[in-house]
Amino acid sequence: MADKYGRKRENLLHILQGIVEQERYLSDVALTEVARELDLSAAQVYGTATFYTFLDTEPRGKYVIRVCRTISCDMKGKNRIIQAIEDALKVRLGETTQNNKFTLLETNCMGWCHEGPAMLINDQAYTNLTEEKVIEIINDYAKNK
């Protein structure tokens, strides 16, 4: 990663984003390695990583589901959507399925207020969700991806 993006401080975020894209999260080993490569202290790298919501420092599943919790999606019933996913995947908010395929999280406003409730699965946005629709999407990921 450091070879790809460079070893300057301003490349740090790119490197961390690149690792998360591949590994879904930043392990302690990865963070200290990045620190060594860029000649920064581990604290600086860890401090930067933990600042950003999408730079997870805990193990995540292959697919990270982030349901929007901000007001419009809340008004449109995001709690029902979360409940449906919890029931389908047998996990609670914040948890990862046993097969490491899915992690269920909430996130702040992701800019789909007019088409709420909305969620992201990794980078992909899904909008106008209903309980049926979200189950369909999750099943599709479980089977086909």
Binding site: K8, R9, E10, N11, L12, L13, H14, L16, Q17, G47, T48, F51, Y52, T53, F54, L55, R69, T70, I71, S72, D74, M75, T107, N108, C109, M110, G111, W112, C113, H114, E115, G116, L120, D123, Q124, A125
Partner: protein
Amino acid sequence: MTYKKLKRIDLIFHEDCDCSQVLEKTFRKSNDEIINDILESGLKGRGGAGFPTGLKWKFTAEQPSGDRFVICNADEGEPGTFKDREILFKVPSKVFSGMAVCAKVIGAKKGYIYLRGEYRFLLPQLTKALDVFHKEIKDLLDFEIIIQMGSGAYICGEESALFESMEGKRGEPRNKPPYPTVAGFMNKPTVINNVETLVYAFMICKHGPTRFKELGTSDSRGSKVFSVSGDTPIAGIYELELGMSLDHFVEEFGDGDTKAVQVGGAAGFCVPRKKFKDTIIGFEGVPTGGSMKVFNSSRSMYNVLHNYLEFFEEESCGQCTPCRVGCQQLIKGIEAVKKGEQKAAYLDQLMKLSETMKLASKCGLGQSVANSFSSIVDNFREEMIY
């Protein structure tokens, strides 16, 4: 006060244009002429703060020679705002062209688009459009645009936090001054504009300042893209002339039972029904970066406020105490009043706290928590208590 009637405008999305042709025409003018056109149009920043765009460009252009940058702020994170996504999705070349005009005027060779992590799905098509654009302007201007991704932090929409983030650091706002026009990204003179502002700047280059200036009011020239959501049958993105009254807005977008509109997102103001008539949407009244959230009488304003405070508590960068501790205490405070653990008069103390946050916080995040807090508590006090 004089109001404008609600009027739909079709400047940003509708008109197809040959961007490189317009750029070629624009570049025949001198830099001063271009800046004067932008100043003359009265264009103010569309991200919410409303700083005159022409002045930003002028101040940066006046800096002693050396590297300088133009940055497009696409870290659209304000709850209820989603217009920049639509602009980048539908008319990306107009955004690039706006950046190119700015680059020419200030003498920048490099520009960046800081795109919020939530919009990463736009990246493939933006990259493609950018390749085409770079080819088109190859003979016109020595200028390259690079897209940089955010990683889920509302505060990075604050310009100096955005620079920090681009430099690979925690997105913590800097002290001001110095302002970005003097020392922005990599401490070089930088123009940072919202996505929509750059498109309007380009449209002003295309049509001349008069067509823009004819729209809106003396304090709020032109039109603006609004993101309408909440209890409305027609949620979506609308370009409207600035200066309308909220009354007219609600007539068009409300569901007939509107009790309040949150103008400007979580950092904005809540306007109750009785004030719709006297509220003007624009810099002389209630400004907005585009977010318009409509609430009908079935909604609990306590829940709305609680949701906003949770948002701020989590998105506060934690750097300065008034914002970090203030957000936590405001949440605890309204919860305690609701549960009856504190008397209703405690709300007044919380109002004072929010005023302190407004005065003492380092950046716009902490300073604007009081906007929604006091406007909701003031207007819906009984809902906070019972």
